[in-house]
């Protein structure tokens, strides 16, 4: 069966269906044939080295990037169809960006309500009420009148989540939501995402937070070189990877549970939730202490 003959399954549970997705930027092939289905209420974490196409996959799903080839169905409607009502389908998918992308000229409350008024044509009072509700959901009910510049990165990202939730989407797409945050602010954002997952939201999460993926994901996709190398439950993919490439990647990001205690690198990775820059000799760079959180304060 060729891609053009693919039909949506028609099953309401199959919220995102991706068939043979390709994406190139000029000569650079970023995605080379992705096929997968995200089901209702499923939390799928996408992991992999940088440049593996994780973010591009996510951005193709709501058509921020136009796929070169392949088809994507959202709620059994083809978003890659040239005649698709992309704007309407996008309201079904909340998107959270690495760099927050809050609207700096609007307050937190206006950030959450503007699309309700302008796109969903809701009454401004009603929109304000919904926005306030969602700000409370992310623990920022009292910051509605603050502008983004007056908030910390963690608060901004939570407003961004509230903004996406205000549209009452069927599913949420997270593009490295904690990568731009100071380490001590990551926890608040992750706990909001955990609540969402517990509430049954369908979620696609591109992340480097292995602990989060392990705990919250129903399924983990490991991507490398534009393809899904390995997928399965977090226990399978992170706990017991079958593919060499997955093992190499995981040893690089140094999952703290996998390296014996006492190793200096492990302590470093635990504090920073990411891999240290390996220089191969297993020592820490000079000056790295317990409270070395760059840019904090």
């Amino acid at each position: 069966m060729t891609v053009s003959e693919v039909m949506p399954t028609g099953n309401r549970e199959d919220e995102i269906q991706i068939y043979d997705l390709h994406k190139s930027f000029g000569d650079l092939e970023v995605l080379t044939g992705i096929t997968t289905t995200i089901h209702r209420g499923e939390v799928v974490c996408i992991i992999g080295p940088s440049g593996s196409g994780k973010s591009t996959l996510l951005r193709c799903v709501n058509l921020l990037e136009q796929p070169t080839k392949g088809r994507i169905f959202i709620l059994n409607e083809e978003i890659t169809d040239p005649d698709a009502d992309v704007d309407r389908l996008r309201t079904q998918m909340g998107m959270v960006f690495q760099s927050f992308n809050l609207f700096p000229h609007l307050t937190a409350l206006q950030n959450c309500s503007i699309a309700l008024v302008r796109v969903q044509k809701k009454d401004p009072e009603e929109a304000k009420r919904i926005a306030q509700e969602n700000l409370e959901k992310v623990g920022l009910g009292d910051r509605g009148h603050s502008y983004p510049a007056q908030m910390s990165g963690g608060q901004q990202q939570r407003v961004a989540i509230a903004r996406a939730l205000s549209m009452d989407p069927e599913m949420m797409l997270f593009d490295e939501p904690t990568s731009a945050l100071d380490p001590e602010l990551v926890g608040d954002v992750l706990s909001v995402m955990r609540d969402l997952a517990d509430g049954g939201m369908t979620m696609m999460v591109v992340t480097h937070e292995m602990a989060f993926a392990r705990e919250v994901a129903d399924r983990v996709l490991f991507m490398d070189g534009g393809v899904i190398v390995e997928e399965g439950s977090p226990e399978e993919v992170i706990g017991n990877p079958k593919e060499d490439r997955t093992r190499t990647f995981l040893s690089r990001v140094l999952d703290p549970t996998h390296v014996h205690a006492g190793d200096e690198d492990t302590a470093y990775a635990k504090r920073h939730r990411t891999a240290p820059d390996h220089d191969g000799d297993g020592t820490l760079p000079p000056g790295v202490g317990f409270h070395s959180t760059p840019g904090a304060g």
Binding site: N62, L64, N101, L102, M167
Partner: protein
């Protein structure tokens, strides 16, 4: 003993001055030049003569009156109308320059290069003759209409470049966030990008307003009834009839009443922006 004293007196002289000392001496020289210039001016300039040419008191009194007020108001009306028209047209041109459609980009570029490349005074003269070129045609709100259109079209060329830069200064992620919320491209531009772009370009656009205020003086080249006189035309007419430039000097000072607060405003906005982006 003599050798000792000679070394102690000669050595410090040869030593180079410390940077702080040198800066101090340089300041002293600067003050000295300034004082000298003032003294020379006082000695050579004949204050009486100067007053007779530029500031004749009786003519200052003659100049200040209801007609000066009306000219002042006309300057503001010419400027404001041209600015509003230039702003609207400049925004349209900026959007054309960022259009996906090639011909729109070319047209906007040709327009900009043309109107930036020719003197505003010629554009003004050309537009004042439109009624002759197209019999029966006249701009509404005569004589304001022709001036608004002519100066507006010239300033639109400059403003379009500024506005285009402002739009491009808004991060791409802003459009992506707007689109991901289901906004159409037009709505994203109108509600998200343009408000931020105009915040960025408010100081340079205010500068443009200052330039336009002064450019409104070019109106003196076209034929006008007295009710349409702006500051320069009014000042020139009086200067001609009294064979003295004093009225024109008074009119010139009136421009400062408009432009100084504007430039002050620009400086404050720029300081504020610098603080906000830091």
């Amino acid at each position: 003993m003599s050798t000792i004293s000679s070394t102690t007196t000669v050595a410090p002289r040869k030593k180079r001055l410390s940077p702080r000392k040198r800066a101090q001496r340089f300041r002293i020289v600067q003050y000295a030049v300034l004082v000298l210039a003032v003294v020379l001016a006082v000695l050579t300039i004949d204050g009486r003569q100067l007053q007779q040419v530029f500031f004749r008191p009786d003519l200052i009194v003659q100049t200040i009156g209801p007609e000066l007020g009306s000219a002042f108001l006309n300057t503001i009306i010419y400027t404001a109308g041209a600015f509003i028209l230039g702003l609207v047209l400049g925004t349209v041109l900026a959007l054309m320059k960022l259009s996906q459609v090639g011909p729109y980009r070319w047209l906007a570029t040709i327009y900009t290069e043309f109107f930036r490349g020719i003197p505003a005074i010629i554009v003004l003269l050309a537009f004042s003759l439109m009624g002759v070129a197209f019999p029966g045609f006249s701009f509404p709100f005569d004589p304001y209409g022709a001036v608004w259109v002519a100066l507006g079209m010239v300033s639109a060329a400059y403003m379009s470049e500024t506005i285009r830069a402002g739009i491009q200064a808004v991060p791409k992620g802003q459009i992506e966030a707007a689109r991901s919320l289901g906004m159409s491209p037009g709505m994203s531009m109108q509600r998200i990008v343009l408000p931020q772009a105009f915040r960025i370009v408010t100081p340079p656009l205010t500068n443009e307003l200052v330039l336009l205020t002064k450019d409104s003086s070019l109106v003196y080249v076209i034929g006008l009834f007295a009710s349409g006189y702006e500051l320069t035309k009014f000042g020139r007419n009086l200067a001609n009839s009294y064979a003295n430039i004093t009225p024109l000097v008074v009119a010139g000072l009136c421009y400062l009443v408009i432009t100084l607060p504007l430039t002050y405003l620009v400086r404050r906005m720029e300081t504020k922006q610098r603080k906000a982006t830091r």
